[in-house]
């Protein structure tokens, strides 16, 4: 514990580094997956191609990706940007399927009625399909957030400072407390981001709670009394 108290500044700095490395990929993967997922959901042909391709992306092992990326995008071998790009690719791989499934989950009757009353394709997407696929998108984003935070620790190996640096450093110098701190802090950060997403979902998707409240009401209704 003493190690933690003596190194609070370091832990805090690495936590911030970790956030800077993991938050942009989470946002970027959502933004990039949105049109791809839409396209996958829209046409049968594109669905097969896009979902297979994004599935394959996730299968790329991370170390070769870190080596190949700089050559492909022209960054230096030790640039943190490599990590951000790699994490975004993994995020997109997960998120494209989620977006496609989310859009497919929107009630066909609701969509037909939206078209019937005069939503254009564009307004229909932003005002009907996207918000209604919100619960599915949120579930997917939570997985992406947690997986991104955990993957970002790998950055330590390729020179991007993160909470992962605490355990590489701890290993090298034989400080067990530092290793454990790195692991615990990573888990806590993942939980924190997850909680933030859940809170954001509560604000953005208020109607999902309304439905639950109705169901809860029904459960709370007293049973019919039976006189013996």
């Amino acid at each position: 514990m003493t190690w933690v108290w003596e190194n609070l500044d370091l832990i805090w700095d690495r936590t911030l580094d970790h956030l800077i490395l993991s938050v942009p990929p989470i946002i970027l993967s959502f933004v990039i997956a949105l049109p791809l997922g839409w396209l996958a959901n829209r046409y049968r042909l594109s669905r097969g191609v896009i979902l297979t391709a994004s599935g394959l992306l996730y299968a790329i092992p991370s170390f070769p990706m870190f080596i190949v990326l700089p050559a492909l995008v022209g960054t230096t071998l030790r640039s943190p940007l490599n990590l951000v790009i790699a994490l975004t690719i993994y995020g997109v791989a997960l998120m494209v399927r989620v977006v496609a499934d989310g859009l497919a989950s929107v009630d066909a009757d609701v969509q037909r009625s939206a078209v019937a009353v005069g939503f254009s394709a564009w307004t229909n997407f932003w005002q009907v399909e996207l918000p209604l696929s919100g619960p599915v998108l949120l579930a997917g984003l939570r997985v992406v957030a947690v997986s991104t935070v955990s993957l970002a620790t790998v950055g330590a190996v390729i020179g991007a400072q993160s909470l992962g640096s605490l355990f590489t450093d701890g290993f090298q110098r034989g400080i067990q407390a530092e290793i454990i701190t790195g692991i615990v802090a990573t888990v806590l950060l993942a939980l924190l981001l997850d909680a933030a997403l859940v809170a954001a979902g509560r604000l953005a998707l208020p109607w999902t709670r309304a439905r639950k409240a109705v169901k809860a009401d029904a459960r709370l209704r007293p049973p019919v009394e039976v006189t013996p």
């Binding site: 009630d107 009757d109 609701v110 037909r112 009625s113 939206a114 078209v115 019937a116 009353v117 005069g118 939503f119 254009s120 307004t123 009907v128 918000p131 209604l132 919100g134 998707l205 109607w207 309304a210 439905r211 409240a213 109705v214």
Partner: protein
């Protein structure tokens, strides 16, 4: 006035849903398209707001060929009410009613105020305005659906089996409400149903459809009941049986009406008011 001129619709899979259909729907009247499934009634309704485009023939609204109109704009000028209300589950009642005015660019504040007034019109408590559709009963949702359909004060209101999914008591209530609204508002209503009773109750003009949108008979409910055009119509409306086939029996000096199942339908109470059928249940 809505006019169908030799309209046909063949779907890509080859099904001929509507074959050479012609019909005039007078303004400010309720026309009910009634038929069993496969009669093309919903396809015909959806052609009016270009949800479906005919493969042959044309449809005119007040003399304008709707093929020349932009579909999204056309739809925003026509009220549409469907089964299971079709409300947007993520919007509050008031915002659902304000949907189309907002799409047409009415300022949010005015659209919401108008929407609240519209709730009064369809007999809904304003206290429900901030609820989500899932928090309403089926009948209330359907009323919100009607309010949304009327929100831009359209000339035409399309209703696709709007009361099909609610229980019989609520359905009767909603039907009476629609009759009341229609006497006040005088819209050109196109109503699709498979329920003959509903068709006769609501329709000024009733169109009985056979497969492929073939018209078996057009007329007022009384015309059709009095003179079914053929056996199909007679059997479809049940003129030859059950509660529609009544005969008079003399009982203790009064005339009582008995249906073909032997059920007492009512008593004869003398001359009818014009246009009304003169017996009481």
């Amino acid at each position: 006035m809505i006019e169908f001129r030799s309209v046909s619709k063949q779907f890509p899979d080859g099904t001929l849903a509507v074959d050479d259909f012609s019909l005039t729907l007078p303004s400010h009247r309720t026309t009910v398209l009634v038929g069993s499934s496969g009669s093309g009634k919903t396809t015909l309704l959806r052609m009016i707001n270009r949800m479906v485009d005919p493969t042959a023939g044309s449809i005119e609204i007040d003399g304008v060929d709707i093929a020349s109109l932009e579909p999204v704009k056309l739809r925003r000028s026509i009220g549409y009410v469907m089964q299971n209300s079709g409300l947007l589950p993520h919007r509050k009642v008031v915002d659902n009613v304000a949907t189309v005015p907002l799409l047409r660019g009415v300022p949010r504040k005015k659209a919401r105020a108008d929407a609240l007034a519209m709730l009064d019109t369809v007999g809904l408590d304003r206290g429900l305005a901030d609820r989500y559709p899932s928090q309403l009963s089926g009948g209330q949702q359907q009323r919100v659906g009607v309010a949304r359909g009327l929100a831009v004060n359209p000339n035409i209101l399309l209703m696709d089996e709007p009361f099909g999914a609610v229980d019989p008591i609520v359905r009767a209530e909603l039907q009476q409400e629609l009759i009341r609204l229609q006497t006040e508002l005088g819209k050109t209503v196109v109503f699709v149903t498979h329920d003959v009773d509903e068709a006769f109750l609501l329709g000024d003009q009733v169109v009985i459809l056979q497969e492929g949108g073939r018209i078996a008979q057009i007329g007022s409910p009384a015309d059709i009941l009095a003179h079914p055009a053929n056996d199909f119509v007679a059997s479809f409306i049940g003129a030859d049986r059950g509660k529609r086939a009544l005969h008079v029996e003399r009982h203790d000096g009064r005339d009582v009406l008995v249906d073909s199942d032997g059920r007492l339908a009512g008593v004869l109470v003398g001359d009818s008011a014009p246009g009304q059928v003169g017996f009481s249940r």
